[in-house]
Amino acid sequence: MDEPLLKVEGLRIGFVTRTGVIQAIDDVSFEINSGETFGLVGETGCGKSQTAMAIMRLTPEGGVIENGEINFNGNNLTKNIKHEFVLIKKNGQVRLKRNKSELKRLNTEMGKIRGKHISMIFQEPMTSLNPLHSIGKQISEVVVKHNLDEIIDRILSRDNSDGEQLKEMATLAIRQKVTRERLLELARTKGMEGLADQIWFIINRRDIGSDQKIQAVSDLAERRIGTVTRKFLTTLKKTQGKIPIKYRVLSKIPLVKNRFMGAIVEEARAISYELLSLVDMPNARTVLDQYPHELSGGMRQRAMIAMSIAAKPRLVIADEPTSALDVTVQAQILDLLRDLKKAFGASVLFISHDFAVIAEICDRVGVMYAGNIVEIADLKELFANPKHPYTQGLLAAIPKYGDKRETLLAIKGTVPDLMHPPEGCRFNTRCPRAFEKCTQKPPWVSVGKEHMVLCWLFEDGQDHVE
């Protein structure tokens, strides 16, 4: 773990309302290393979702990043937040004025990152999918947007592939169960690396026997494209997806359009199908043409996931992906996420209010309360010895699987109003161990290997006793 994939530092998000600014997020910092699953856990309104949206730079209307820095994979997502907006205060009312040009620039920049390098899975698969678009359309949208070159490669290298070669490659691959990488270089030697993925997908299908697989692979060579399309695609490849001037008009005229775009749409659809079967979508073929309302909650969430991995992102943000699902379906989805993570080696930011789910899937966890991260630790460490009174309180408040306690230890009181949060530590109003010092801003203390806590109790490293 040399350089973390994502680095959030001193993030401050305010929500502007008529009467004032709500400190939804105050000084949040954490890192996500490549290949790890980082969990954010906390109660409603603690700002975990807002943190996620901030990373996407999609803070909802009225929300602004007032301070802090978000670094993703070396590039800074919060370059000049200072210029993105101004707060106009007059006669007790606050108004937010955004800088249009700045916003435009931001969106164009983020457009290259959203969905391609960072993708997102939302809680409500029903409302998060467009009810008027078929699942296939919604997935291929992403593929076309971010992987156009891959599509073109596939079409072209399939076009100049030859059945015999494919056949022997497939037979070889199947006989000696090659890995993805091996297959890739195999394909490269044959000069059809574009096809590697497709072949890989075919030989990993469960529903057909090996001879059919080989057949299917060699059949790929049958699917040729017209010369016009080929010319178009080759030029398109040179221009990295920018439609050259001479085609710009033609590729808009309805019928004529298909001569150029048809092949791409077809391929995107094929890829979408592969993605759907990758997420174990039952009868994926038909689902392609179905609409969200025709699917069950679990299937919708699978479609969501397929969409999120479409561009093979480095980081997947899962915002309560299973909270709307039933226990058995939740188990399926968690399982799926685990597998995909292995397959793609992506990092995951997993947001949940449910400690149990976090415990199932995360490597490291940050506990959030009222806009702060109050404790960050390795999963096992956190559960073994939680330090922050809030973390302790939460863990004590969950009825454990098969514990015999009659009464649960509840945290007294309720979450503070973030319009005027309590002085110093925001938990001090509910904290059983609060003392005078807690009215000052608490420090970050390291209380063990990779275990940080935001609390005065541990000022000198170990639990200080009154």
Binding site: L58, G115, S119, F122, S128, L129, N130, E141, Y291
Partner: protein
């Protein structure tokens, strides 16, 4: 279930509504009592005294039977297309002929207005929602606001004052005040008899068919002011609905998803937001049609535009049964069927509706 079946079922459901319509129309004709109803049939110069004539006529039209029976007879006649006579300052003769004369004009007016208003309102509404609180938005809102606050006939009058008279400034006196075409032009033309143009009854088209462009131009000139007035009225309504519906749509989760996919704002709006926003708009089209048809009545009245609306107001003033009845029927039918069309449209564009 197939669309055809759905349509069939909807048509079946229309029957009670349609009967209701006939009931209203029936009462229009019959509540006034025989005098009013038979006014046009009684010949004052006949040797037979009026009251006797009325007796005979009443007998002939079963006016002495109980209302239910009358309704039945009337309905039969009505369905057979015998809609009686009308006698107004602008037309007297068979009601059906009057409709043949007036309806095309009204249709032209209404269709032009609705097409125009849709073409203007939808893009404008979408834009003002996307650029919420921008200058564009503010302006649009003011326009639409004034639009559904202004009395449409008053607006028409103002337009006449401004553009059809020299009272503001002579240079602005561009358009004809009233009517559908300059009588002088059509006075001696074989394909234009007693206010009806042939073959299509639509002067706008017929004039082109017969290649007489001066008439065409004149008709257009006569249409411009009424169409503008009407368009503005409807446009305002559509604008308002489109905007609010678009705003709601932009707050939907799937829009957030679309953004998270990395689509540009343009793509988000064009691909994901617009269509979804327009579907709820369809649900209020019914009211808009009602507004349109009511507006037609007023506009036609102000511009003395020979359409159903003008006819019905004249009939009202002249206490003419035929005119009011005919107009009511036509407006009712148009309204009912436009609503039907909207419902079917709705069912076809939205995959969620399992009809």
């Amino acid at each position: 279930m197939k669309l055809s079946q759905y349509v069939a079922r909807r048509l079946v459901i229309l029957i009670p509504t349609f009967l209701g319509l006939t009931l209203i129309v029936f009462s229009v004709t019959h509540v006034g009592g025989p005098q009013r109803l038979l006014g046009e049939y009684i010949n004052p110069h006949s040797t037979v005294p009026a009251d006797v004539q009325q007796q005979q006529l009443s007998a002939r039209f079963h006016l002495n039977d109980p209302l239910v029976i009358q309704y039945f007879y009337w309905l039969v006649a009505f369905v057979q297309g015998d809609w009686g006579y009308t006698q107004t300052s602008i037309y007297s003769g068979r009601v059906t002929d009057a409709i043949a004369l007036f309806f095309p004009n009204t249709l032209v007016l209404a269709i032009l207005a609705s097409i125009l208003s849709v073409l203007i309102a939808i893009p404008l509404g979408v834009m003002s929602a996307v650029r919420k609180d921008s200058v564009v938005d503010e302006v649009t809102r003011v326009i639409s606001f004034a639009g559904y606050s202004v009395p449409i006939y008053w607006l028409a009058l103002l337009l006449i004052i401004a553009f059809a008279s020299s009272s503001v400034c002579g240079c602005l006196n561009i358009f004809p005040k009233t009517g559908i075409v300059d009588i002088v032009l059509v006075g001696s033309i074989d394909w234009y008899r007693s206010g009806i143009s042939y073959p299509t009854h639509v002067l706008l088209i017929d004039s082109l068919l017969h290649g007489s462009f001066d008439i065409f131009v004149d008709t257009v000139m006569h249409l411009i002011l009424p169409v503008i007035t009407l368009t503005y009225g409807i446009m305002a309504g559509i604008l308002r609905v489109v905007r609010s519906s678009m705003l709601d749509t932009l707050n939907e989760d799937y829009i957030r998803t679309a953004r998270a996919k990395g689509l540009s704002e343009k793509e988000v709006v064009n691909v994901h937001a617009r269509r979804n926003a327009l579907i709820p708009v369809l649900t209020v089209v019914g009211y808009l049609v009602a507004y349109l048809l009511s507006g037609v009545v007023l506009v036609e009245t102000v511009f003395n535009y020979l359409g159903i609306g003008y006819w019905t107001t004249q009939a009202l003033l002249g206490g003419d049964v035929g005119g009011v009845m005919g107009a009511t029927v036509i407006f009712g039918l148009v309204y009912i069927f436009s609503n039907l069309v909207v419902d079917i449209l709705y069912a076809t564009v939205d995959p969620r509706i399992r009809y």
